[in-house]
Subunit: 239 residues, 2 copies
Amino acid sequence: MKALIVHAHPEPQSFTTSMKDTARRVLEAQGYDTVVSDLYAQQFNPVASASDFGSRKRDDYLVYALEQRNGFETSSLAPDIAEEVDKLLAADLLVLNFPFYWFSMPAILKGWIDRVFLSGPLYGGVRFYDKGGLRGRKAFVTATLGGRPHMFGPKAIHGEINDMLRHLLRGTLGYVGYDVLEPFYAYHVPYLPEDERRKIMDDFETALRGLDTRPALSFPSLDNFDGELFPLDHLAVAK
Amino acid sequence: MKALIVHAHPEPQSFTTSMKDTARRVLEAQGYDTVVSDLYAQQFNPVASASDFGSRKRDDYLVYALEQRNGFETSSLAPDIAEEVDKLLAADLLVLNFPFYWFSMPAILKGWIDRVFLSGPLYGGVRFYDKGGLRGRKAFVTATLGGRPHMFGPKAIHGEINDMLRHLLRGTLGYVGYDVLEPFYAYHVPYLPEDERRKIMDDFETALRGLDTRPALSFPSLDNFDGELFPLDHLAVAK
């Protein structure tokens, strides 16, 4: 089994960076062949642009998804993208490890998705959700944040935490077919004393050892929609 | 009244780019003093990092929000950030205009938020939502996407479209205090014939002329939570 850990934190001494190291160690101890993309260390360019394509299908007008498909088919993607695509397509397990920036990912990780999650091999037409290109694989979001657990939940100030990450959990990882495991959230990290941080890291290790049985989030099945994506039976649609 | 339009599309001939031009023209015709940040044209750097700060509060360890506050107070933010902060703080109306990339913004715009939405003047401690630093101002999200209207809604394949953008509408714009106007979504744009695109642009003009009475989304009030952000009365909490 192969794992890809994509890590995005600008401070090498941070707790989030330690989580990346813990994830690598624990996954390797479980027999995963593990690769890390440390986006800040790589100085990864997150800006999707025309220069991502060595040869263009249409030179006069950029349709990014069209050029992604063409670039993949003709092996003419920019080398920094092609390298990440190879890692992604080889991985049975994808771990995204990052600090919350505005209830989402830091831009460097958002741009990794924009540029590496290719139209074509990952999705296209009605190949998404449970028909997505990466179905059968697992994705695990592991994130740190300043907020405390009581700030999230049905009656809490920010509502459900997974709802804030819906664009990532469902709209991105679920969309391309992953089994999206229940995320691991390290709450309030910047404000915690050392012993409480250590407790969170222990919980994280336990979570990493239990990935085989960790519950996955549920998303709609395309079987419940027609070819134009109108619902066949609204009762069968996942919330 | 001043407006800032932040635009993020890599193709200058795109419909999204035309929307930016329409927004500028219509807002100016209504008397707005209008400034545009065209992030691709500016080659805006979206990666939050230590080099965003001319002088550091802590040289040994990067706490990004801490350095934002210090950088703002001591006028030592990187010039490209300081310029955007000045535009943002001058604007009564913020328009974010972009194509959907993974049910969210392109990374170049996400990074504009990461770097320009400063801890300190925009939020801090329990100054957020209706106590946020930009309360009393308006924000308007105007976006294009490939999906069709029937793909969004309570029984639809992707659920509610505003729920996908929750991290932006509530977790970012609402968080810093904006009145977040109901977004304008231009559906299915890449696949539409010219007459249908023109109809959407007409609807967009109408929307821009009606901003004064356009409904705003509702978010929680901090008045319903205590100083530690526990709910005072769960019945009063917005969904």
